[in-house]
Amino acid sequence: MGATEKRMEQLGITLQQTDWRGKGAAEAIFINDILYISAHYPVDENGRPVYVGRVGAEIDEETAYKAARLCGLNMLRTLQAYIGSLDRVDYFVKALCLVNSAGDFYNMPPVMNGFSDLMVEVFGHRGRHARAAMGAYVLEGNMPVCADAIVRIRR
C-alpha cells in the first residue's frame, strides 16, 4: 500500500473496487505505433446486427460482400475515434477475416474483398494488407462476417 492509500485509510476514505468483468475486450489497443483492432461486425451505429445468417445459406455471396464492407466502415469509425484523423494511418499490416459459412460454401476470399476493396478505396496503396480469410462455424450473433486488423499509425 502506498503512502497516499495509507493517508486515505487514516482519513477514512475508501474507494469502490473496480469491477473488471466485461471490460477485458477493448475495441483496439495501441502499442509501439501499432494499433491492434478487435473484430468488427456488420452492425449499425447502435450495435444491432444488420446482416444475420450463414453465407451460402441465408445470406448470398453479394450480400455478404456488402456485409464485409460494413465491417470495414465500422472499423474506420473505430480507427478515427482512436487516432483522430485517418491521415495518421501509415499503412494496414494484416487483417483476419472470418466468414460464417454454410456447409458447402468455399468462396471466402471474394466475400472478404468487400472489406479489402474498401480499405484500398479509402487509403489507396496504404490500405493494402496481408490477409487471411477463413470460414468459421459460428460467429457472434450468427452474423455472416467479421474482420479484425493490425494497422501501423504515424506519430
Binding site: 477485458g24 509501439n32 491492434y36 472470418l98 468459421a136 462455424y137 459460428v138 460467429l139 450473433g141
Partner: protein
C-alpha cells in the same frame, strides 16, 4: 505486488514441461512483442483437458465460460514460467479465441468473456486486449471447448536483451 499467487490455484508443484509435450514452443518474442501459442483448458503438467466437448452440446455456456477462464490461467502460467513474473506484461494486446460450438449455439463471444474477465481480474487495465472470437467445430486434444492465443507487449527490463530478470514490484503505466 506480484500477480503470481493469483493464478496458483491448482495448488500443486508444477514443472516446466511445455517443450516436452509439444513440438511448438509456447512463447516467442520479437521486438518487445511476445506471441504466446494457443492454450486450451488443460492441466499444465499432463496436458489432460479439464473440459471436453462443444458448447451447446456437451457443455453449457457457463461451463464454456469457466473453460475459457482456465485458458487464461494456463496462458498466464506459461508466461509466468518463462519470464519469472507476470510483471513482465506491460499490456496484453490481442487475443484470438476459438470456441468449439454446437449446432445451435450462437454466442461464442460470451464464452470468450471467461478469458477476458480473468485477464482483467488478474492484470486489471494491463489485461485489456483487442479480441477476435471465432466459433469452430473441431478442436485438438480430445475436442477441448476453447483455445486462446495471445499477444502481449513486454515490460521494460524483461526479455531476451534484458541482462537480469526483475523480480517485480514495478507499476506499469496504462497505455492509450
Amino acid at each position: 505486488m506480484s500477480n503470481v499467487n493469483v493464478i496458483r490455484e491448482n495448488g500443486r508443484e508444477t514443472v516446466q514441461r511445455f517443450q516436452r509435450y509439444k513440438p511448438l514452443i509456447p512463447i516467442r518474442e520479437a521486438g518487445g512483442i511476445v506471441y504466446v501459442s494457443g492454450h486450451g483448458p488443460e492441466d499444465i503438467n499432463t496436458y489432460e483437458p479439464l473440459y471436453r466437448g462443444r458448447i451447446g452440446e456437451e457443455l453449457t455456456p457457463e461451463e464454456g465460460y469457466q473453460a475459457a477462464s482456465e485458458c487464461a490461467k494456463t496462458l498466464l502460467r506459461a508466461v509466468q514460467e518463462h519470464y519469472g513474473s507476470l510483471d513482465c506484461i506491460r499490456q496484453v494486446v490481442r487475443a484470438l479465441a476459438l470456441v468449439n460450438c454446437g449446432r445451435s449455439f450462437e454466442h461464442p463471444e460470451k464464452v470468450a468473456d471467461g478469458f477476458s474477465d480473468t485477464c482483467v481480474e488478474i492484470l486489471q487495465e494491463r489485461g485489456r486486449h483487442a479480441r477476435t472470437v471465432m466459433g469452430t467445430r473441431n478442436m485438438p486434444n480430445h475436442n477441448i471447448p476453447v483455445e486462446v492465443e495471445m499477444i502481449f507487449a513486454l515490460a521494460d527490463g524483461y526479455g531476451d536483451r534484458a541482462p537480469v530478470l526483475k523480480s517485480g514490484g514495478e507499476k506499469w503505466q496504462i497505455m492509450i
